[in-house]
């Protein structure tokens, strides 16, 4: 779109300037202005527009897009939002009519808005660079982290690539920890990670009862978005299908289990069955027991 609009705007602008020029006695100032504009536009065309023809940068041309990100039909997402269900993943050809596909469900899209409002991208990047140290840092167990690919980002508006890592990179965060871990961490990060300097996002929680703050809708949306980060990224594995090769999620189930366990052991819960039936705060606890309550604001 911009490819056509900018040259047209430019021609119109030059035309207006030339018309003004006819009536101005002192022409050199105007000519200088036109020169400045021309220099600028030539540079602009090359830096901004030419890279945009890259075929992996737009939804309707990206190859294998569903290997890099979740894709939904827009109609499915809208219907699921009304019913309160989860829309099915779209597995077909991405080369369908423009605008029919989206990368996020309605709740995840709302979560992106919360992420944007709270400024998470000022401290957390969302790109793994192809560097040895970086791959080693973000790999888990035997799951080697895949580096950032342009097709992962075609669903993002705005982009959250980031330029600063006051906290770690988040592009492979989805699925590593449970929702409970994230709620506890958002409410008071220092109870989960000793020495963390992340702000406590207490306004995302209803903490009228100081002991058991309840996540508000904003927190639920935010966590639902964070859980998608890199979660649908697949890698090509030659050892699959008896040596024929195939695609699998980048995070292997046993490695995901490992990080989930580490995370669960940090979560604070009230276990009603100990302390002689009075209940007490413990780290970890039985996630599956419905009577165990997460305490995002606990103090152990």
């Amino acid at each position: 779109m911009l490819v056509y609009v900018i040259p047209i705007l430019f021609v119109v602008l030059v035309g207006i300037l030339l018309l003004i020029l006819k009536q101005v006695p002192e022409k050199s100032a105007m000519l200088t202005g036109i020169g400045i504009g021309m220099t600028f536009i030539i540079g602009l065309t090359f830096t901004m527009l030419i890279p945009s023809f890259n075929e992996n940068w737009s939804q309707n041309t990206a190859k294998d897009a569903s290997r890099y990100h979740a894709i939904y039909l827009r109609s499915d997402v809208e219907k699921a939002d009304k019913d309160g269900t989860t829309p099915p993943l779209y597995k077909g050809d991405t080369n369908v009519e423009f605008g029919k596909l989206v990368g996020y469900t309605a709740q995840q899209e709302r979560g992106r808005r919360v992420y944007q409002r709270e400024g998470c991208m000022y401290c957390h990047s969302q790109q793994i660079r192809p560097l040895k140290g970086e791959i080693a840092r973000y790999s888990i167990g035997t799951s080697v982290v895949p580096v950032a690919d342009e097709r992962e980002y075609i669903w993002d508006q705005p982009h959250f690539l980031g330029t600063r890592r006051i906290g770690p990179d988040l592009s492979r965060e989805g699925g590593k920890y449970s929702d409970d871990w994230h709620y506890s961490h958002f409410y008071y990060p220092r109870q989960m990670v000793n020495g963390s300097i992340m702000p406590a996002f207490t306004w995302l929680f209803d903490d009228t009862d100081k002991n058991i703050p309840v996540p508000k809708q904003d927190a639920r949306d935010l966590v639902s978005y964070v859980q998608t980060l890199g979660f649908y990224r697949q890698v090509y594995d030659q050892s699959l299908n008896g040596g024929k090769g195939g695609w699998r999620p980048w995070l292997k189930p046993q490695d995901q289990q490992y990080t989930q366990n580490v995370g669960e052991s940090q979560v604070l819960r009230i276990d009603p069955n100990i302390n002689g039936g009075k209940g007490a705060q413990i780290r970890g606890g039985d996630k599956l027991s419905p009577t165990n309550k997460v305490i995002p604001g606990g103090t152990l």
């Binding site: 911009l2 600028f40 830096t47 192809p130 342009e150 982009h159 300097i197 992340m198 207490t202």
Partner: protein, 500 residues
């Protein structure tokens, strides 16, 4: 040709009196001075929050990620641009030998602009916790501006451009001094850069402007904000106030024009070096690296020109406050550009990218270079706008040394700490949190440096305020470029012509 010879050759006609009201300049100046104190305190608060993350816990509009973009945007659009507008209103009539086209339009420009900045503060701090794109941040670095505030800024910029350009075409001096070129460049480039950076994602259907297209435009804009908005404005200020305050002609007019055109054509290509090793195409990163190195051409031409101009005038540094700021700013300009070019190299970028090194670098650009030139302009122009001597030279000296030492502490701590952190990240045996803990001593030094800088800002604002409101009688009259009040002998544009 010796300075005295040139001065003797000045035709008497050029020194005819022109009474400049400087009303527009005064309004823009106070808007900028007010905002730098406010945004400086916000910046200090941000640096303290690194040490005490629980400070103001639970107050959503004072959380670190909300005050950080307000500090950055406020310093660029709330302080730098209004104060450079004031400098434009001061310089352009004097260099054109005519009055400013419309003083009232200038006052209106400042009012509209500062309203836009105030709305940005409200929208990005966001105490109402809204996600409505009309009022909340756009979520991209440097282009946070909520849509409502962008409208105010664009309207004000059009008003400024009309005002200044109308003054240009009514000029009586034929010779266009290089500061005027840079001002014209700043006016044109800002309009393009601001519109491109802030509007496509709103104007065009969301699907055509997503992911890396968005990121590429974002960084084209982000780099151009510094390179094509702040830099030409700062260089215009220095090109005018350096010869004026040193009382020496410009070293070379031709060299300055080489610098001007190369700045315009090279800076635009640099945006992609913010995503070296990122998911953008490899060739685009290489182009950005090459053009980052080509930036030495405009930088060295400006720096050579400045040092050539004060050749033989170094003794003035002892007593001349504006000159102190300009010389320190020139050194920082050379350093920050050299650093910037080398940071674009893949091998160095692999270590320093994402670390605090970059924060030290960007502060050297916006504080050490741009803001120092603006301080120099203020110390030179404000006494002449109000036709009174500066309230206190001693306070100005204190301001200089607090800013200088504070900044050196600030950025050196971040460079050493940031480089160390980058090296530690390459060692997967260290947990991420241990690399954060290793940064904490450096963050203490940084906050100390920031405190010195903010104390300097208060002294600066107080000094200017007392200068403007002092009851001392006005000194002489500040006429056209030829007749300056106070101790600086008359200069005309022809006397600003080059030595070589």
């Amino acid at each position: 040709m010796a300075v005295q010879q040139i001065m003797r050759m000045q035709p008497a006609a050029e020194t005819e009196k022109l009474q400049h009201e400087d009303l527009a300049a005064k309004w823009a100046l106070w808007s900028g001075v007010g905002y730098i104190v406010f945004f400086g305190v916000l910046g200090l608060l941000a640096s303290i929050k690194f040490l005490i993350p629980d400070l103001f816990n639970g107050v959503n509009y004072l959380s670190w990620p909300r005050i950080r973009p307000v500090h950055v945007q406020g310093m660029i659009f709330g302080w730098a641009l209004p104060v450079f507008m004031a400098m434009f209103y001061y310089m352009v009539p004097r260099l054109c030998g005519t009055k400013l086209w419309n003083e009232k339009l200038g006052i209106a420009t400042t009012l509209v602009w500062s309203t836009g900045v105030a709305l940005m503060v409200l929208g990005v701090l966001n105490p109402m916790d809204t996600t409505n794109p009309l009022w909340s941040t756009k979520g991209k670095e440097y282009e946070e501006w909520p849509i409502v505030s962008s409208g105010f800024l664009m309207a004000a910029w059009i008003m400024l451009t009309v005002n200044i350009w109308s003054t240009f075409v009514r000029r009586t001096y034929k010779q266009m001094y290089v500061a005027l070129w840079y001002i014209m460049g700043c006016l044109m480039w800002t309009s393009f850069v601001y519109v491109i950076g802030n509007w496509p994602s709103q104007l065009f259907p969301a699907n055509s402007f997503m992911g890396l297209n968005d990121a590429n435009v974002n960084w084209f804009y982000g780099h151009s904000v510094v390179g094509l908005i702040a830099t030409p404005a700062a260089l215009a200020t220095a090109y005018y106030f350096l010869p004026k305050s040193a009382n020496a002609p410009l070293y070379s007019h031709k060299l300055s024009l080489i610098g001007f055109w190369t700045l315009g054509s090279i800076y635009i290509w640099n945006g992609a070096h913010h995503m070296i090793y990122g998911p953008i195409p490899y060739w685009l990163q290489t182009v950005a690296t090459i053009f980052s190195f080509l930036l030495f051409v405009p930088v060295l031409s400006a720096v050579t020109n400045f040092f050539g101009t004060i050749r033989g005038e170094w003794h003035q540094l002892r007593s001349n406050v504006p000159l102190k700021f300009i010389v320190a700013g020139t050194v920082f300009y050379l350093l920050v550009s050299t650093q910037g070019s080398f940071q674009a190299l893949r091998s160095l970028n692999a270590v320093t990218h994402f670390t605090d090194w970059v924060i030290g670098h960007s502060h050297m650009a916006m504080f050490g270079f741009v803001t120092f030139f603006a301080f120099a302009g203020c110390y030179y122009a404000v006494p002449r706008m109000y036709k009174r001597p500066l309230y206190s030279e001693g306070m100005a000296d204190w301001h200089f040394w607090l800013s200088f030492i504070g900044f050196i502490l600030f950025s050196t701590a971040l460079w050493i700490g940031g480089f160390n952190q980058g090296m530690e990240w390459n060692n997967p045996n260290l947990t991420f949190i241990s690399t954060v803990n290793d940064m904490k001593p450096f963050w203490h030094v940084r906050a100390g440096g920031a405190a010195l800088m903010v104390i300097g800002l208060f002294i600066f604002a107080w000094n200017l305020f007392k200068t403007a409101t002092a009851s001392t009688p006005t000194v002489g009259s500040d006429g056209g470029d030829g007749i300056d009040a106070l101790d600086i002998p008359s200069r005309t544009p022809s006397s600003l012509l080059s030595r070589v």
